[in-house]
Amino acid sequence: MAELINVLEIMREIRAEIARRRGADEEQILEYARLKLRAWSSAPPLRAWPAPQRSGADWNVSEETLWRSTRGGLGNLLMWVRRLTRPLVKLFANLEALVHRQRAINAEQDQRLTRLEELASNLAVELARLQLELQARAREEK
């Protein structure tokens, strides 16, 4: 039986069956969904997750951000002084706790935004699918 099975053939059958029922194939549905999203200038691409720029840990602030410097040689000196005075600063104000909280909030918001983008994409595709199906049925009824 193994030789009789061809997953490409099975997928072709499945897709043809769906296209018959829906009145449109996947490419037509995606094209229609893209048209719907064109008014949204920063629309996420359809089915292209994850969002690579924000995902991962590198984009967020961290406790180290407070003490770091990006000014080359002078920056190293500055960082050394900051490291020396760090315990003293922490005695008067716990800035690291604030950064820690902000980091968690950023991460949570990022997750929500990514999920919303994914949902918006899925909804646009779903809406396009339903509209095309309705049009197909209306044509059949005529």
Binding site: A2, I10, I14, D58, R68
Partner: protein, 392 residues
């Protein structure tokens, strides 16, 4: 042969990814060759902070030499550099700065390799995108066997890497799709290469019944194994599964094995089981109806190969070229692009036991032909011969 391995991190505690891939290959090739792993003292792959002591040690019976990292990754600077490079583009200088910023910055490793290159007949380098790999490749190109573990992301298009893919004597690709990607970006057709991948350790036996009883999973279930993460396509999987459940009267669960890094829907049919040991994982694979793999980005899904090894069909995301390609080549999995296809594939796999069984048998054969350790070891031997004959 005397083999050197270069990898960004190495340790028994490091599970998954190129690091585990490297450890398994090193442990298997150590049966036939004298092996030494050159790596950093880092455990954390984001900061690369030194964790292990530097110098020679042994991990799982394999000699390992660790080198200090001299810079921790600066998240803000690295983020800024990445944005500048990938959005505005940059020259070779900027690409090299980005690579140094990504890390792990362990120049001692490169210096050591330059000085001791003649101690090795071949050096196997894992993950093209790291500082250690790139500079190790430049330190001994005539002995290098590269295992790129590349994914279709913008990094593979950087000029420094397009040029670097021409340097090794041979390349061990994870999949046909990875080879096509790298050859299309770099045009390195002249470099000897083979699709190898990695084997897996299968248990002597599995006990589906024990798993069902232990986790009170008496209904048929789909299984997902891996990090439970939006970036792995899990949010869409939950959406599709719950929608499928609403339209079906047949009892069906979705069991999840792995650490959750996203909020999970509270639903009686979605069962997060947490991180399980290897035996439990294989028992779960033996007990499930099918493995579902919704990730859009995979360079090689080891768990999919494990499901096939146990004769289970897979249902995978068609947007992932590697998973789709493997499903087609093995004739052991179906693939979906949207809910309609997900539902239709589930219907067929759950209601046509002959189809499901045959796909599983095809998977078992595919694993046996391509991913048994004997096969993987033989492929490495061929590539090592190519390196040695080129280096001579």
């Amino acid at each position: 042969m005397r083999l050197g391995f270069v990898v960004q991190r190495y340790g028994l505690e490091i599970g998954g990814g190129a690091e585990l891939h490297c450890r398994w290959v090193a442990e298997h090739l150590a049966k036939y060759h004298r092996v030494e792993v050159l790596t950093t003292c880092a455990y954390d792959y984001i900061t690369w902070a030194n964790h292990y002591p530097p110098g020679p040690t042994q991990v799982g019976g394999v000699p390992v030499r660790r080198f200090r990292t001299w810079l921790q990754r600066h998240p803000v600077r690295f983020g800024r550099l990445s944005q500048r490079l990938f959005e505005d583009g940059g020259d070779r200088g900027l690409e090299l700065r980005w690579l140094r910023s990504e890390g792990p910055f362990a120049p001692g490793l490169t210096r050591y390799l330059k000085r001791h290159r003649s101690d090795y007949d071949a050096v196997i380098l894992f993950s093209y995108r790291y500082y250690t790999t790139y500079h190790a490749l430049h330190a001994c190109p005539e002995r290098a066997l590269l295992v790129p573990t590349a994914e279709p992301d913008p990094v593979v298009r950087l000029g420094i890497f397009r040029e670097a893919f021409h340097r090794p004597r041979a390349i061990a690709y994870n999949s046909v799709e990875e080879r096509e990607l790298i050859q299309a970006e770099s045009g390195n057709h002249e470099v000897a290469g083979e699709v190898v991948g990695v084997g897996t350790e299968l248990p002597q036996q599995t006990d589906a019944q024990r798993f069902r009883q232990r986790y009170e999973l008496l209904d048929p279930f789909l299984l997902y194994v891996g990090r439970i993460d939006q970036n792995k396509g899990c949010a869409t999987l939950f959406e599709y599964f719950l929608r499928y459940r609403e339209g079906s009267r047949r009892p069906l669960k979705l069991a999840l094995i792995g650490k959750a890094v996203m909020a999970l829907p509270r639903h009686p049919d979605i069962l997060p089981l947490g991180f399980l040991g290897e035996q439990d994982k294989f028992d779960a694979l033996a007990a499930c109806e099918l493995l579902v793999m919704p990730s859009p980005l995979e360079s090689l899904s080891m768990v999919t190969l494990e499901a096939w090894a146990l004769g289970k069909p897979a249902l995978v995301n068609a947007d992932c070229p590697v998973l789709k390609g493997q499903s087609i080549r093995s004739n052991a999995g179906l693939f979906y692009r949207n809910y309609d296809e997900f539902a239709a594939c589930c219907d067929r796999l759950l209601t046509q036991p002959d189809l499901s069984r045959t796909l599983g048998q095809n998977g078992r054969r595919y694993f046996h032909d391509h991913y048994r350790w004997e096969v993987i070891e033989a492929k490495y031997e061929r590539l090592l011969q190519a390196v040695q004959s080129g280096a001579a």
